[in-house]
Amino acid sequence: MILTVPVAVRSTVTLTLAGAAGATALVAADRAAEWERPGSFALFWLGMLVFTLPAAYWACRKDIGPASRAAVLVAYGCFTYLPKLLRNPAGPLYHDEFAHWRQSHEILLDGRLFEANPIVRVIGDFPGLHSAVAAVSALTGVSIWHAALAVLIAAHVLVVLGVAVLAEQIWRDGRTAAVAALAYGLNSSFLFFDTQFGYESLAIPLMIWTLVALHRAIRGPRRTSWVVTTLLLAAATVVTHHLTALGLVAIMLVFAAALTGRRGCRPAAWTAWLLTLAAAGLVAGWLCWVAPKTAGYLDPYLGKALNQIAGMINDSGSGGRTLFRRSVAPWYEQKAAFAAPVLAFAAIAAAAWRLRVRRDPDPVDRGSAVAALLIGVCYFPAALLILTPSGAEGARRSWAFSYLGLALVVAPLAVALLDRRARLAGPALTALFAVLLVGNTAAGMNPSYRFPGPAAYGSDTRSITPEVRAAANWLRATQGRGLRIVADRYSGLVFGSFGGEFPVTGSVTFPTYDLYLTEPGRPVPPALIHQLSEWDFGYLIVDRRMAEQAPEIGIYFETNEPIPHDGRPAFTLGQLTKFDHTPWTIKIYDSGDIAIYRFDFSALGGPQ
């Protein structure tokens, strides 16, 4: 194919200018947010749309060559990483980022994988991302954070390219492939969640490329080579992230089932089933022998979400959550968030109808299209989980998988509309693109994760102040690394990452939050003291902001904590300062909001 130079040059110039304008608006949006000036949301969406709409225009044009289309998609991938890059250009900010930063740091310090992680306890068993980041950091000499950015930007671009390649395998059309890639970029995790320094950010592209390899393996030629590649990439997904590995097996299962019984698909179906079984075996083997803690880690989330759904059904709404409650998101984001699933349903229904009436000559491709439809349909039941506090997180995460099916199956419909009714379809699809981008992003991430702002307790992204970091640095400098400490969720992030300590933030079996909950003058439960003493816990971190502000994300310690969340602080200052008067806690550090106590359990016999 000969590159159409004028179009290529025009698209390059247009997108460079649009990218510069978009980047400027994104910078302005973040600055407006951090200085608490109005307009941050509008500037953000202006910046996003000023680039993504021209990118979509160029990607969908008929007269653009494959190389130029690939260039547009790479530009789209790079630009859509910018919002997250601007959010925290200098270091970790989101919850899981601290855990992965620590894990990479541990690899660089100790040279070993599979070290325990106190922030996310199963992360150490899935070393794909942090081993890659630590390796890049060790090889290049750049900081862990810059190595992470290099890996994550590459992974983000590979998501866009991977969806396009998968769509091109199924539909055999470059435009449809480009539209599928752009449509996948509308999912709620694309801009902020799957761009963080978190294992899914690498696992999602690995999963998508595994599906590319799977599709080639089932269609041929060179089946054996592609079978080996599928297994290699599936294994890489398995060692990177548990949920994505499970999602991959589920998607492969749908592909295999969709091919089964279809005329002309017998060898393809066999290959698909064998690869699915092999991938399932890899996942099961890893979860049983390498990461046995994973089931216990995931189980409470799913179980509680199902209970909350049952509660909503039985008790007329109890156990549910109200979307955008106390959210500062503007009205148009909230409306778009509610409109997005409705529009997605209309799109997938139309795509399903089109799939039914149009017969693809290749049975394998048709089977793959049906599989994509089935995967896309899963988006809608998952939306139900968003109404439960425990299921909301899982629902958002599942959209990164289901949107793949949705994007694959809706893309040819969009291209057909553009071909037949360009005048009408162009503006309508542009509006649909904008509403889905705004709505899904708003549904996927809180404003405090998306924008900088004033310090606030109870936000993963805004409660990390210089004061907390100074306390963590002081503890590491004077008392050493690897200390077992009791902390709340937000202090624990800093003490567990930059501090290098081993914080525990409480659980049902080890309710360290009872230390804080105990009323002044009342004894701390002896069983807890015994546990702390037996397990060699040496320090207690107290953040006094717990008595001044309700946590923004509704968590003090962990998701299942037995602490009321009614918009008021759940602790009194007395509960938090009582340790100033208990002989078994020595206050060794105090900076106003943060106090560090050393346990002296031998003093618990009382004054002698």
């Binding site: 601007l86 994988l113 794909g128 081993s131 390796a135 590979l158 390219l161």
Partner: protein, 251 residues
């Protein structure tokens, strides 16, 4: 590009990683990864349409090579360090390159003429994105940001930082080192007090705290009246440290 050249590029860049100056490392590492990534499809005889897909596949394979090597190092008991990673990458390049060369003995596949053009087309937006995105991030980082909340911290310093139980205080009392640190707050004068149990042992003593500094203050704590357990609090403004001590006299 022929397989032997890709292999040579991987090995040359590996050598640079092993022995080159630190400034060359950020350039050599991506070359090794891209070359190893390119050798994977050649070794496994993979071809993918469109040409961008082939380039993406190479990138994915290069990225996957890193966890693969770290896992192999871990399983063989070798520590994950720059040298062991470089050796691992070189070994993988030799393995994949050897397999590709062996396979190509039975007939070299035709080079895809679209490949270099697509690579160029992808490299241009990547470079533009690097410049535009880099400039945006640079500008954002360099522009003034709202001041973060300041704080003044008080901590037990020196030997006192290791206090892990009741301190035996002699007749003459003890000099307790206190570390005072201020950040993001203007210079101030704060009252320093010592309380033994509930008794303030002297009028508060004003202590100047310079802005954005860390200093050490020695605070004299007199001996408590007897050998019973006494609470000792040293406070500087609203911040304080608390430990427990016993006097020399019997309880």
């Amino acid at each position: 590009m022929t397989t032997i050249r890709v292999l040579a590029a991987a090995l040359a860049a590996s050598a640079l990683l092993a022995a080159g100056p630190p400034a060359a490392l950020p350039v050599a590492a991506p070359i090794v990864l891209l070359a190893v990534g390119e050798l994977w499809p050649r070794a496994l005889a993979l071809d993918l349409e469109p040409a961008a897909g082939r380039i993406g596949l190479g990138l994915v394979c290069g990225l996957v090579s890193l966890p693969l090597i770290t896992l192999a190092l871990h399983l063989t008991g070798v520590l994950i360090r720059a040298r062991s990673l470089t050796a691992g990458l070189a070994a993988l390049a030799v393995l994949l390159g050897g397999a590709a060369l062996l396979r190509e003995r039975s007939g070299r596949p035709e080079a895809d003429p679209r490949w270099p053009r697509t690579l160029g087309a992808i490299a241009i937006p990547a470079m533009v994105a690097l410049v535009v995105g880099g400039a945006a991030v640079f500008a954002y980082v360099r522009l003034p940001h709202p001041p973060q909340p300041g704080y003044t911290s008080v901590a037990l310093g020196g030997w006192a930082a290791d206090i892990d139980g009741p301190v035996a205080i002699p007749h003459g009392g003890l000099d307790v080192p206190i570390r005072v640190s201020s950040a993001g707050e203007p210079a101030a004068v704060a009252p320093l007090s010592v309380l033994v149990d509930t008794l303030r042992i002297a009028p508060p003593h004003p202590v100047p705290i310079a802005a954005d500094t860390t200093s050490s203050v020695h605070v004299h704590v007199p001996a408590p009246p007897n050998g019973c357990l006494h609470r000792i609090e040293i406070s500087l403004g609203p911040a304080s440290t608390v430990f427990y001590g016993r006097g020399p006299a019997p309880c």
